[in-house]
Symmetry: C2
DNA sequence: CCTTTGGTTTCACTATTTGAAACTTAGTCT
DNA sequence: AGACTAAGTTTCAAATAGTGAAACCAAAGG
């Protein structure tokens, strides 16, 4: 049930179709897409043809199924590399991972959802594509709430409108009001908690990464389990996490303004 | 400069602009793009506005610069995950990396260029985004030649037309004729060499990954240096590499056809 | 052999895109 | 200041590109 508001122009429709292809985990047949979309047959067909011709989706000639094209992987590499945050934050994440020994997440906001752009796993080595690029909910994750708390009013409104407020655990803040109160608490405190709100047993401490002008660029979190540590112990590391977030922000900004007086 | 043939429709133009934004390593200003593109001002402006609105590029309000949007990272995650090759090949790459102790590349063909979709580095741990998603030339790399050698005539022709034949090293096959002869040799031999054709001191042995119907799905290579080993020593591992390539092909196909008699 | 299902093409109708030119800002120079 | 210039944004009639009902084709199944 794609609750799409208003796809602007042909390009919007094409990208909408691209998302539809992406939303299935596997290659999809034309008729599957037709059933899902509310575009007429011919229109959908032409859009897919264009996308295929452009390398954004690939049509398997044997099975007649569409999958996302390799051109996207190339574009994403560029997107990641030129994002002001991820490539610059890399060494800082390494440092934080080593100091804490816990799982580290670096996230950005994408249409009201949390997009993980980098990660350090406590146990295994980095698994970028398999981990980064994933999305999660904003209202019930540490990084999500940390970013929401510092969004300007209109952006916050837009983001809130996209939250499902599904109650993942008994601790989930499952209403707009509860979330707004929490956001105020986060602003007062300077960092966000995840008190097993998304997954039972998983807690985290997250801080926003903000530009000098106060714009939210992303968020950084240290995640652990109730089996291994407590909120208080995590909180003791908050100043260090904040410090690293500030360093990342500074590095990102000086990269974005290489020319200086 | 951009020798674009014929961008079909508005969508093609929009994606063309997306590529332009991607091609710069850093955020670009409107006028930079205007200079590079041969679209009129108003058209380019509208295209960028649409792309921005769609989250494919982001406009930094402070600097007035455009960068690729986070939506791409999310799409690429899906692209990588649903590609028939990369996620499935993962354990096989691990195995090959361990057995050989050398650098492993997994590549696919993208518009006449080689796109690296996964990698195992001999020394460091995996660095996916920083490595995968990169593109390289086809005519002077092991994986490139391995794929070219088994392409159907029309696809080969299209790919050849996109090769620059720049002489990277004294060993580079810098002409269409030399390359065609080499491709025949590869078909006879069953695997491709890179005899320091792209970078001095770097050699590799590559094999294609082909479906049962013979379609080229990708290529797999083991890379080393002349300081550490020789072509002959690498060649001794060719049967094993071929075997793993066959296993990957089989796994990819059974994944693509989960329903069976 | 006839029917169904899934995919591709046609073509008159229309909505979207186009781009020269006019208009704003925001700097810079004298 | 006031007059220039560069960079970005908006307008609007003309033209192009997109639309989608319906016809068509091919392969699978009865």
């Amino acid at each position: 049930m794609g609750a799409e508001g208003h796809a602007d122009g042909t390009v919007g429709k094409a990208l909408d179709v691209l998302d539809m292809v992406a939303s299935h985990g596997r290659p999809v047949r034309f008729s599957d897409l037709l059933a899902q979309a509310d575009y007429p047959k011919a229109t959908l067909y032409r859009l897919l043809q264009t996308l295929t011709h452009q390398g954004m989706v690939s049509l398997d000639p044997d099975t007649g199924t569409y999958a996302l094209g390799v051109r996207l992987v190339r574009l994403a590499h560029a997107a990641w590399a030129q994002s002001s945050l991820a490539p610059i934050a890399r060494p800082y994440l390494d440092e934080l991972a080593e100091k804490t020994g816990e799982t580290i997440h670096l996230a950005q906001m994408d249409l009201g959802q949390v997009l993980y752009v980098d990660k350090r796993n406590a146990a295994r080595p980095v698994e970028m594509f398999a981990q980064a690029g994933k999305v999660g909910p904003a209202y019930c994750t540490g990084v999500g709430k940390a970013m929401l708390a510092y969004l300007p009013p209109d952006a916050l409104e837009a983001a809130l409108a996209r939250q499902s407020f599904y109650r993942h655990t008994p601790h989930t803040l499952a209403s707009r009001e509860a979330l707004l109160a929490e956001l105020q608490a986060i602003r007062d405190r300077g960092h966000a908690w995840d008190r097993e709100e998304h997954e039972a047993g998983i807690i985290c401490c997250a801080v926003p990464i903000r530009s000098r002008q106060g714009r939210v660029m992303g968020a950084l979190s240290v995640t652990s389990t109730t089996a291994r540590t407590t909120l208080d112990a995590l909180g003791a590391q908050a100043p260090m996490i904040k410090d690293i977030a500030a360093q990342i922000a500074a590095a990102a900004e000086s990269w974005r303004f290489p020319e200086q007086a």
